[in-house]
């Protein structure tokens, strides 16, 4: 049985690496995208179960990507240092499965992604 896919979307290579490392024990196939546009292309092509999405990126912003994914089965976990209440509420209203504040902690990443994968598996 194929492993579910997780797409890490962040323009910061270091963050992508840290998230990838954090998910080493999570049974999933990991892919990466460094912009909103490349994320949308990857999502259209691969239909990942979970997307970890930065909010501030070149091209399409994370919030725009999130709006475009609203109503789709893909679960989106937002990763951002912009963790004000208003923005968290907006992201959740736009369909985010969860919001993770940067700097991220590996255990928090694992926990949220495991939950999102479970939710994606039993919609």
């Amino acid at each position: 049985m194929a492993l579910p896919e997780v797409l890490i979307v962040d323009d910061d290579q270091l963050i992508r690496t840290m998230v990838r490392d954090a998910l080493i024990d999570v049974p999933c196939e990991i892919r990466e995208a460094d912009s909103g546009d490349s994320a949308l292309a990857a999502i259209a092509q691969r239909n990942p179960a979970v997307v970890l999405l930065d909010l501030v990126m070149p091209g399409k912003s994370g919030l725009e990507v999130l709006k475009l994914l609203k109503g789709k089965p893909t679960r989106v976990v937002v990763l951002s240092a912009l963790d004000t209440e208003g923005l968290v509420q907006q992201a959740m209203a736009d369909g985010a499965h969860g919001f993770l504040s940067k700097p991220i902690h590996p255990l928090d990443v694992q926990s949220l992604v495991r939950g999102a994968l479970e939710a994606a598996a039993s919609p």
Partner: protein, 275 residues
């Protein structure tokens, strides 16, 4: 429906669409310090000055005060956190399982240290916050060095929580500032090679010297070093630059060392470590 905006920073990274209220809150928290262009549709961006309502929010005097307050608060939180980890084990700080792999330790370390990396701090970071971040960076780095040591030790198959970092009494260094150059004088007792070996990453093998000092020197500060060795007539004189700040001191890279100077250091280290 209230108007929404897109904001772009100097690296053309975009945030939006967000409303004025969210923008105001983000700005007040000091999180929108680099807005260069703005848009109402996410496609056509114009300079900030062309949208007075946004410029008013992003340049309001109260926001600047709030931004500084946010940095003060961040400084206070880092200092509290630093105090709180003093008596905690590295495992507790890094939040890794008992049997964590080296990669798991490293991932936890990078996740924690990321926000404190001095070179990644915004240009307008206050001096107090910068110092707090540097201290946090150094404290975490010291813990990680201990972890790496544990993994390097062949007798240790599973890493116990590393001990608290201890600072041994170090060779006294004399520092003097002259014309922008820091002059460092070291008098080494027989058998003491710690300045050449204490910093495992940057030792005598890479022409580096650790200087124990309570003085905080900025990396790249030019230095002139004079080292005397007990029982030796020859002294080591070299120029260099501060390359890294450590807990309890800093590491200097010695520049343009001659082979005879390297031989002097090599001999001293060999005698000190084989006695």
């Amino acid at each position: 429906m209230s108007e929404e905006y897109w904001l772009a920073d100097s690296e053309a990274r975009v945030l939006g669409p967000i409303g004025l209220e969210v923008i105001h809150t983000l700005h007040a928290r000091g999180k929108l310090l680099d807005v260069r262009a703005v848009s109402r549709d996410g496609r056509k961006f114009v300079p900030l000055r062309e949208m007075p309502e946004l410029q008013a929010v992003l340049s309001a005097p109260i926001s600047l005060t709030d931004g500084q307050r946010a940095q003060q608060e961040a400084t206070r939180q880092i200092r509290e956190w630093l105090a709180s980890i003093q008596k905690r084990t590295t495992q507790e700080i890094f939040k890794v399982p008992q049997l964590a792999s080296r990669d798991a330790w490293r991932a936890a370390f990078f996740a924690l240290v990321h926000r404190y990396v001095p070179s990644r701090l915004p240009a307008d970071t206050t001096a107090e916050l910068r110092l707090a971040c540097e201290d946090a960076f150094l404290a975490l780095s010291e813990r990680m060095v201990e972890v790496e040591r544990q993994f390097r030790s062949p007798s240790t198959s599973l890493p116990p929580p590393p001990p608290m970092p201890t600072i041994e009494p170090a060779t006294a260094a004399r520092l003097a500032h002259r014309n922008g150059v820091v002059q460092i004088g070291l008098s080494l007792k027989r058998g003491d090679a710690r300045p050449f070996t204490q910093d495992l990453e940057h030792s005598w093998q890479t022409d580096c010297l650790y200087v124990a000092s309570s003085e905080r020197l900025v990396p790249s500060t030019p230095v002139e070093v004079a080292v005397s060795f007990e029982g030796h007539v020859t002294q080591l004189h070299a120029s260099g630059r501060v390359m890294a700040t450590r807990v309890g001191g800093f590491t200097v890279r010695l520049l343009n060392l001659g082979e005879d100077q390297r031989a002097l250091i090599r001999t001293w280290v060999a005698r000190s470590t084989t006695k």
